[in-house]
Symmetry: D2
Subunit: 345 residues, 4 copies
């Protein structure tokens, strides 16, 4: 079977694997206090044009999310997010397990808008029972979102300004950030470093064996962050593995370049479906595509391809998701394109 159901089906990008192999016999101190992590941190700070940023490496995205969220909230505070947000629906209540309520807002195309944040905060402030209600103190968004869409530079600017005007912080989950950076270069690392209080540079879904970089440009969340990493079980003993991988991924523009290739693959697949007359569930520009297909087409695809069943549309149709990644072989894409061309319209 060929996998198009997610962006973590393969191993590492060859450059990343090579770096791991070549550094295997090096000896380093543990817990990401080594020189390899220092090098990776320096590269990230430079690409962010933010020399004072704190950069922490953890293994997985749920770890990164729960760490930043719990660092940014007092016990009675909660985090606003899209109702489709990963922390709200797909992390088994990881945020709640740290004691905090997730405060979902209705989303459109997987996104929330600055005015929704303002309304939620004012609703709380103006309620005479405000002390009986969880206090919104943070906004969590994903870029790209869970359904593959992108915030525009203006939307992010508005969210940032609204948050900071109201005393909230803004955290951007960049589990698939590479694909977003490649799809819309106006939202780049320096821009994110200016508008966010924290964001993640996702590695797992963008060519690493594993690894997420948490970037904290300013003062929020920063103090004693490593204690939190250890307490939540997120501190890797052989921490340099994260540094070695991120160095290989980030240097020489590989992160964006390899992501762009994956985006191109996804967009070619999208167009092939559209040209056959199959409608999109929603239009996306990065590495995830969402389609409505006849059940017969879904079944035909599933004989050879693993894809994600996204939900029933009607008796005869289903929504599906197809995903490419930094590691998707072009041959797999070609095979799929041929398969699509052969589907009955």
């Amino acid at each position: 079977m060929i996998h198009f159901e997610c962006d973590y089906a393969c191993g590492a990008h060859p450059a990343v694997l090579k770096a791991l192999v070549e550094s295997n016999s090096e000896q380093h101190c543990g817990y990401s206090e080594d020189e390899r992590c220092d090098i990776a941190r320096a590269i990230i700070r430079e690409q962010c044009a933010c020399p004072e940023a704190a950069v922490h490496f953890v293994v997985g995205g749920t770890q990164a999310n729960l760490l930043v969220v719990e660092a940014g909230l007092r016990s009675f505070e909660g985090v606003l997010c899209a109702d489709t947000g990963h922390i709200n629906v797909h992390e088994t209540g990881a945020v709640e397990a740290t004691g905090h309520k997730v405060l979902p807002l209705p989303s459109r195309d997987g996104k929330i808008a600055a005015h929704q944040v303002r309304e939620a905060v004012l609703l709380h402030r103006e309620d005479p029972s405000f002390e009986h209600i969880v206090r919104p103190a943070m906004v969590y968004i994903s870029h790209p979102t869970e359904i593959g869409t992108l915030y525009t530079r203006q939307e992010l600017t508005d969210l940032s300004e609204t948050c900071h005007e109201l005393g909230l912080t803004l955290f951007v989950d960049g589990a698939r950030l590479g694909y977003g950076l490649a799809a819309d270069p106006t939202v780049d690392l320096p821009f994110l470093s200016r508008v966010c209080d924290a964001f993640t540079i996702g590695g797992t879904k963008c060519g690493l064996l594993f690894g997420e970089a948490i970037v904290i440009p300013g003062e929020a969340y920063r103090d004693c962050f490593r204690y939190r990493i250890k307490q939540r079980g997120a501190m890797l003993a052989k921490g340099r593995l994260l540094g070695v991988q991120f160095e290989a991924l980030m240097k020489d523009g590989l992160y964006v370049e390899a992501s762009r290739t994956a985006n191109d693959q996804a967009q070619r697949i999208k167009r092939a479906f559209v040209e056959k007359g199959f409608p999109l569930l929603c239009d996306t520009q990065a590495n995830q595509i969402f389609l409505v297909l006849p059940n017969s087409a879904v079944e035909a695809l599933q004989e050879k391809y693993v894809i994600t069943y996204w939900g029933k549309v009607d008796e005869g149709h289903a929504a599906v998701r197809l995903v490419t990644s930094v590691c998707t072989p072009e041959a797999d894409v070609q095979a799929l394109l041929g398969h699509i061309a052969a589907l009955p319209a």
Copy 2:
């Protein structure tokens, strides 16, 4: 610098690295539901002579500990352990962060005894205010312990019988289990599977890039365990990496064999120090050795070697720890032996 301060300074054992490289372009579903994890689980179940054991893979030891402990306790229950136990002193309160009190008992050589467990449980039961006191419901021990000592088969049998007679469960943290299995073959995997409710097979300190296997032989802790893994951020997206590594480590007896080599290295180093007249802080049989050295000898060693400063003994002497691992080059050991021989007595 040559590292003898811990067992996670290097990368992976060559056989493990080779398996990772060779499987890099394979495509698998995520979250350890793939065939490579299934193979590794089957090998472990077979070596445990426990076909019905549940086996879960996580990245790190703190994750494994907090997951098993929180799975085994109700909100008002606590876990008994040695005062030197890793969960009590070196995990930044990871267990408490799940809401549970760690209940330390005085240790001797890093170990606690069955009678201490009995006394603690009876003390609680017989107290008229028992409902005002955290209820002991679980025992956590490490084998080898945090100071390198080993429980005997009889000690473990006694702890197991006492726990089960009193309605407690027994969890053995095997972060360095390979070195223990190699040092005392009477405490083997089938034995642990009979006496424990859960134990871990440590990979990170025994030749993997990362990875701990949680083995649950019986019914305790078992139900819905994967939800817990996800909730605590411990579910690896590219989960097959854990399966690939554990398969390489466990098959053909590599785990114990490679650990034995490391034990031999440590014991040769120990003897070299002893022969020079330096006293042991406590005697150990596995891969960690604890010595009392004159400050001058510590400083001389530290010019070339990274070792762990374990504490001040008196004005002129310090306790230090030296550790070997599955990945320690024999050349490093030879160099160190030469260095020791040259130390002034």
Copy 3:
């Protein structure tokens, strides 16, 4: 000012106060292990026709809710409730602070229906990523609801059967139960004891100085419940105060009888508004009434009465809540009725 904004503006019903005064010099052991609590528990068990019920007394409703919810859930499990449910909106995230996600369902008239519970549970079960999603394990409803409506006997039966068929438990928050029992006698204590896994008999809003009785008819939540009470700070030292008050409130039918008087007061007030032509926000049968009034009428009322502003309806109108209680003086009601009659229509 005369208070109609809530049902906790006054002190205790005279019979309750009398019992407290008369027992003031009695000496008892603490923590509700005394004879006065035993008597109250016996009365409640008898009125519930459930001799084996566990009955616990705590001071407040949020305590009762968080205790039952955390007793009924494992760490990765959540509680389904109406989006308007007290635990979802007015307890500052008390449930989340115990680590659990509240799973809100859209409500109609403050209520949720059995089919919604079934759909939510099946949606979770049939999702291939079910382990990444909080597992629904419990249903929380309020009777009367937060907006004063009542579940019918059939609706409760359906919820109970659906919960138990699907392996969930059902918890009914009876913070205002007296008013519900008085308004619809078909939903009585024996019925609740048959259909619920736990329910509360609210005292604070029904004539006590403070106090909620948690009734646990069956096995769910039962074991070691008193440890939980102590751990969450909900165990009253002079626990007999709860027993003394509940005895006075529950014996001789006072609980329902006094609540009925309050309902009658509220319904008379409701009719007076309706007769003046002011519309109801939603119709209720118990002690809370919700109206839409012109802003001028709201202002006129607020010169003399404290009422709850419930929200803006349009530029000229607002929704308000008026509440009576066991302790509302009839003279206050008469004064208000006169005031309403004098309002311009």
Copy 4:
């Protein structure tokens, strides 16, 4: 039976009960935002000579403790206390249930000293693995202690200075503060307001039906404290009950005066035992006394009196605790004195 086993066996001091009865028909808004609470807060601020102090009322001592502790700690921080401290041994892990580790220090006469705090903090700071160890950030002590002893003014000054020099906060649990104030007037409310970051004025054990006042003289813990009270289920709906009681207790010096009477009773009982030749377990000046008695004397006492069995001393002797309170009838004391006189020596 006559109760001398604790200080919460009776109801309220007559003046407190009278105030409750007289205010029963008053109408107030809820949650301690009423004028009666404002009056009580003003009295306390004045007696503390600290006009800017925040004063919050909660029902019980465990609530007060867990609220202040969780307000004062970040997730990875812990609270130092005596190993005999109430939060460490008699609150069923209430602090741990908020996610924080209690860090016990060896106690002498129920007390810890400033130098112990300093050593613990420096031990943490100087440990290279400090990020793997819970960070001490707060000190909790009880005055009087759990075994009835008192900190001197100098000891408290030293603790305060050490805490503040090292960046920790100091919290004094005054569950029995009245007895302490009466026994040593040099440690008074203005002094406590200067040296502590928070302390409680215990009401439950000093003449109230229930109630603890949390006094926060400075900035630590202060912000948004009422959210925390609500979230932990500690906000009383009819909050004015706390104001009414505290006003009655605190005004005109009743708190200290009534406590002094109880101390005198306890000291007379102590002297009666000592004069009979029975040794003290430790000497105390307030309302708790600890004795070593022959088993026969214990049994003779227990025929008529409830006392606390504190532990076995040897085959023939036991340690016991006797406690008086603001509500202890002098007739009970006289009866007991007669009984003691009649005991065989």
